[in-house]
Amino acid sequence: MGLPSGTFSQSYAQDMAIFRTKAQWIILLAFLAFLFTCPLYFSDRILTIMTIIGITVISVLGLNILTGYCNQISIGHAGFMAVGAYTSGILCAKLGWSFWAALPAAALMAGIVGILFGLPSLKLKGFYLIMATIAAHFIIIWFILQFYTVTGGGDGLAVPRPEIGGFVLKSKGSYFYLVMIIACLATFVAKNIVRTRAGRAFIAIRDNELAAEVMGVNLWAYKLMAFFIGCVFAGVAGSLLVHYVAFATVDQFPFMNSVWYLGMLIIGGMGSTAGAIFGVVSLKLLDELVIIVGPILSAVVAPQAAASLGLIMRGLVIILFLIFEPRGLAHRWQMVKAYFQLWPFSH
């Protein structure tokens, strides 16, 4: 599917390969080369945007495994990010751990909490499961606020920047590299997890739970595994976020973020790694557009209304997009790709 004509598979390895043609490899390498030289030609402001996009991509890739592949819709992903964020924040700030030890610990902790809230998923389906994950978000945030002696509660928690052998990743550029390396690794892992036995089990569960069970897929184990993997990604993203801002508060993980992560997945297209990345990048860029255009609009319409006009504009752009392209960006991308593969013929 979607290959240029004349590409044939002569072995199983070839058939399974993600990158099939030389052109794809060249595009990938060119993209990576561009990505890792970004600090050379972009200002700190753009690097900040790209770093945040990278962190969000990590989180949404996890959600994509959980929701897009295993069909366990979660509107509590920001809560699981908060678990990872606070775990590594507390380990670094209060117990003096190094960031490199705290990051896996944060991932593990988020995964375990994910399993805990995934436990009802064997019995709950659809809206009932959405409710359980919404509940997870609020319960997690409430716990963080209650245990203020450890977490700092409403006052927040100052978190140190990571360091490598005495070199502190203080500049925007150095942290950009850290985030991008982890984001690339996360993309690699996410893309490959769904090609393993577990990934095929997730897809079977998504397509028909009952049929999957009859075929011998252990629903209980694989659903919990999906929750674990999805939340590990969230934990890593949360940890990276607070170490970047050098401060952790619950305000960094509002409920609407949980909703927007799902929104990014819907816009990008569920159940596709590229879709998750597309969704994050396009919605984050829309936010930036709103930040740039909002003040200009408000100067024309109403001087003190920049924030509200931004919100309205963001909503309207998405409404218009949905009316004209309800199947998401990934669908449009497939059509564009198909067009160029067949060009100059129409089919």
């Binding site: 436990l119 009802p120 019995k123 709950l124 389906k125 809206f127 009932y128 959405i130 409710m131 359980a132 919404i134 509940a135 609020f138 319960i139 409430w142 606020l145 209650q146 245990f147 203020y148 002696t149 509660g153 409403g154 028909n208 739970e209 009952l210 049929a211 009859v214 409920f255 909703v259 927007w260 799902l262 929104g263 819907i266 816009i267 569920m270 109403a302 209304a305 924030a307 509200s308 006009l309 931004g310 919100l311 309205i312 504009m313 963001r314 909503g315 309207l316 998405i318 409404i319 949905l322 009316i323 309800p326 199947r327 998401g328």
Partner: protein
Amino acid sequence: MTFFLQLVISGFALGMVYALIAIGFVIILKCSKAFNIAQGHFVMIGGYLGFTFLVTFHLPVWASLLAAIAVAIIMGLLIERFTLRPLVGQPVLAVIMMTIALATVLEGLATLIWGGEYKAYHGVLPTITLKIGELSIPSEMLIGIMVSIVAVAILMLLFHYTKSGLAMRATAEDEQVVQSAGIKVTTVYALSWVIACVVGVIGGIILGGVSGVMIPMAMVGLKAFAVVLLGGINSIGGAIVAGIMLGVLENVAAGYLDPLLPAGGGLANVFPFIVIIIVLIFRPYGLFGLAEIERI
């Protein structure tokens, strides 16, 4: 004992409002199969409308209610016609995304029109504090209980004894069959969004009278969702029972447990969610919902 009864009564009032908002949720859930994220935002808009009509325009309570309902009807019709009708026949996820976008637009509009500030209108409602023994029921709550009981009763009558109610229930069962029976599904959709908006706005005015309005009030929509699931998606009666239950539980828990907690509590905001997780583990289809039978 008085303290307990006081908590139960205010919980009951709160629960009736939850039930009212929950009905709006159930209706959208049934007709579009979509989870309406913007339901809480209708409530928030309702609270601000209440402020505008009661404080800014100095209208009496009944006129404010009617004016707010009129605005809600127009809002519902506009929302359905311009955002949801183009999505008929598209995946449910697109509809959910549309409600997320709607929520954003409504939040932006509220900030634009009312400045996004905390507004309260305790004093403007007539003071008819009811006293039963040592219990006193403040007028806001009394009006709230009365209005929500009347609204719920009207809705029940509408669903069970009118043609459009029948059409709505039938559409929830099977859209295609209804279409082939000659019922206009788009009208039913428009009606259900109007009802969702109206109950949201009424709930918003009542809640605004009790505790004031601000943007985060939109989170009430989630509690209404908890109520819907606790009662079971298929049951409007269940939503009412569950609403009152959650309202009372939340209030009693906050009243007794908050002082014991380290950071001063805030239990009222999470308690419904803790209850719902526990209940759903034991009764996955809510208290009164029908279990779905699955076939391959």
